[in-house]
């Protein structure tokens, strides 16, 4: 599985499509344990990111991710803006000088993204944040075996659903303490959409 510039653009577009059609659901998830703006934030950010990358010309995947990072960073705000911004920025930096992106490159990029996000958010796995989705996905990609679209969705979905039973210790949901249990983390859900979109891209490329 190699990622082309075109696929990178499509990834952003498909993520946007999923975010837009699930905008209200993301907001509802955030209303339960946060401040109810996650759908608005993601929709604002990815709308602009899609507009930017689909109207620009790119030589490299890294270039697509760099623009995506810049737009997300300057349009989302909140907690998710710097985190998604950092994720794409770290991926773009890792892939900077790569004219083509192999699966191993991509796995390395996601690993870098994860590390950047953990550092930025001072969060570890198990704190009911989007890290809980990025972590197993990064592991899965790094593993290298049987990496396919179906498995990717499976891993991401399971991770997202796993956030339901944990108590938040980072992010806004942490203020709710025990009351945060029983609700899926909104950021984990938007991260799930991101990887679902990636799986769709892969499927089309098969």
């Amino acid at each position: 599985m190699v990622m082309t510039v075109e696929q990178a653009v499509t990834w952003v577009e498909k993520t946007n499509a999923l975010v837009q059609s699930n905008k209200e659901y993301l907001t509802e998830l955030d209303q339960a344990i946060g401040d109810g703006d996650h759908g608005l934030n993601m929709s604002r950010g990815f709308q602009e990111a899609e507009a930017k990358v689909s109207s620009s010309e790119y030589e490299t995947v890294g270039g697509v991710f760099k623009d995506t990072a810049t737009v997300l960073m300057s349009k989302i705000g909140g907690a998710s803006g710097p985190l998604y911004g950092t994720a794409f920025l770290k991926m773009s930096m890792f892939l900077r000088d790569k004219p083509s992106v192999t699966q191993a490159d991509f796995a390395g990029a996601v690993e870098e993204a994860l590390n950047g996000m953990k550092q930025r958010g001072k969060a570890e796995q198990g704190e009911k944040t989007m890290i809980d989705v990025w972590h197993p996905v990064a592991d899965f990609l790094k593993n290298g075996q049987n990496v396919n679209a179906g498995k990717l969705v499976e891993v991401a979905e399971k991770a997202m659903e796993g956030t339901k039973d944990t108590v938040a210790t980072k992010g806004r949901a942490a203020y709710l303490q025990e009351r945060s249990k029983g609700h899926i983390d909104p950021g984990s859900t938007s991260s799930f959409y991101l990887f679902q979109a990636l799986a769709d891209v892969w499927k089309e490329g098969e």
């Binding site: 907001t27 209303q31 339960a32 344990i33 946060g34 401040d35 109810g36 703006d37 759908g39 608005l40 934030n41 604002r44 960073m73 300057s74 349009k75 989302i76 705000g77 909140g78 907690a79 998710s80 803006g81 710097p82 985190l83 930025r120 958010g121 210790t169 980072k170 992010g171 806004r172 942490a174 203020y175 709710l176 303490q177 009351r179």
Partner: protein, 331 residues
């Protein structure tokens, strides 16, 4: 959802336009940004104070721009921290060479976005310091979690850091003054009704006619527990108790009090609470030196209020008394 708005997407921009038109002598908008700065920024030879955060807390933060308080306020979308590119614009516009001090409320989003801007500013050679406000005792304090929220106590940080900077304090001195406020300020809030982000269309939670949400923040989030509504004195007692029991030793001390309306609570009710707070503190031998009653840090149209106590020393009292001339804060 009933709101006096046009398009939900335009709320912040139109609000900032309306503010700039309301206070043309005091503030100006940095074109193309969501930043308002003092009309005369940068102020020569003064450490500049920058605050901000999501919108929906008006008069915070732009209402505190003015001599003796803030040099700039950065507005995010409703309840959403502003992005680093906006914060850096503010920093650049107000730096006079003496450095810039950031007042950040302890929310992951605010902390991350402001810190990214800070990194960018430092890379440009601007000296930047910051304080993270976390006055809300409703949330348990623990180093393993996000920690506590910053709420109405932030206004005391604006006042005291602003006065220190106006008095010629260095960046380090401003930071020390602000940290003293944070170390000595505790707050807690209660909601009688929720609020609705314009774009969300409905509130985060619902309350029955006889319920209140205790330990509420300022973003329409659920509080830490739900209780039956009680007489004003009992509600005030519950909040005050939590504030007094916390880690600041208020015993026999002097304090500044803030009874802050969250948006829809009539001022008459805030004064009823203030009456209780004063009588209770005086019973306990705690001496109130300054009192602030009104809407200082709101949560859109939420009904409810918070109580803030700040233990003050001589320097803090002087800084509280110092002149300030912001649209929403005068001394």
């Amino acid at each position: 959802m009933k709101k006096v708005i046009n398009n939900p997407d335009d709320v912040v921009r139109e609000m900032l336009e309306g503010m700039t038109l309301a206070y043309p002598e005091q503030v100006r908008n940095l074109e193309g940004t969501t930043v308002l700065v003092r009309k005369d920024a940068p102020v020569d030879n003064k450490v500049a104070i920058v605050s901000g955060g999501g919108s929906g807390h008006e008069p915070a933060h732009a209402g505190y721009i003015g001599p003796g308080m803030l040099d700039a306020a950065v507005a995010g979308e409703m309840f959403t921290s502003p992005t680093p590119d906006q914060v850096i614009e503010a920093i650049r516009a107000v730096d006079s060479g003496q450095g810039v001090f950031l007042v950040i409320k302890n929310y992951t989003g605010d902390v991350m976005n402001f810190e990214m801007a800070r990194e960018m500013a430092e890379a440009e050679g601007i000296s930047v310091e910051q304080v993270i406000v976390n006055d809300d005792v409703a949330v348990e304090d623990s180093s393993f979690t996000t920690g506590r929220r910053g709420i109405a106590g932030t206004v005391f940080v604006h006042k005291i850091a602003g006065a220190k900077a106006a008095a010629g304090g260095s960046l380090k001195e401003v930071k020390e003054a602000a940290e003293k406020v944070v170390a000595n300020t505790r707050s807690m809030g209660v909601a009688l009704s929720p609020c609705t982000i314009p774009g969300a269309g409905k509130p985060n939670f619902q309350l029955e006619d006889d319920e209140m949400e205790v330990g509420i923040g300022i973003h329409g989030e659920p509080g830490t527990k739900r209780e039956k509504i009680a007489p004003a004195d009992d509600i005030a007692e519950e909040l005050l108790q939590k504030v007094l029991e916390d880690s600041v030793d208020f015993d026999k001390s002097e304090v500044a009090v803030m009874v802050n309306g969250l948006g829809a609570t009539p001022e008459s009710e805030l004064f009823i609470v203030n009456r209780y707070v004063h009588s209770k503190l005086s019973e306990k031998g705690i001496n109130v030196t300054h009192t602030f009653v009104g809407e200082y840090m709101t949560s859109l149209e939420m009904a409810g209020f918070s109580i803030t106590l700040m233990k003050v020393d001589e320097e803090m009292k002087q800084l509280l008394d110092a002149e300030a001339a912001a649209p929403a804060f005068h001394r």
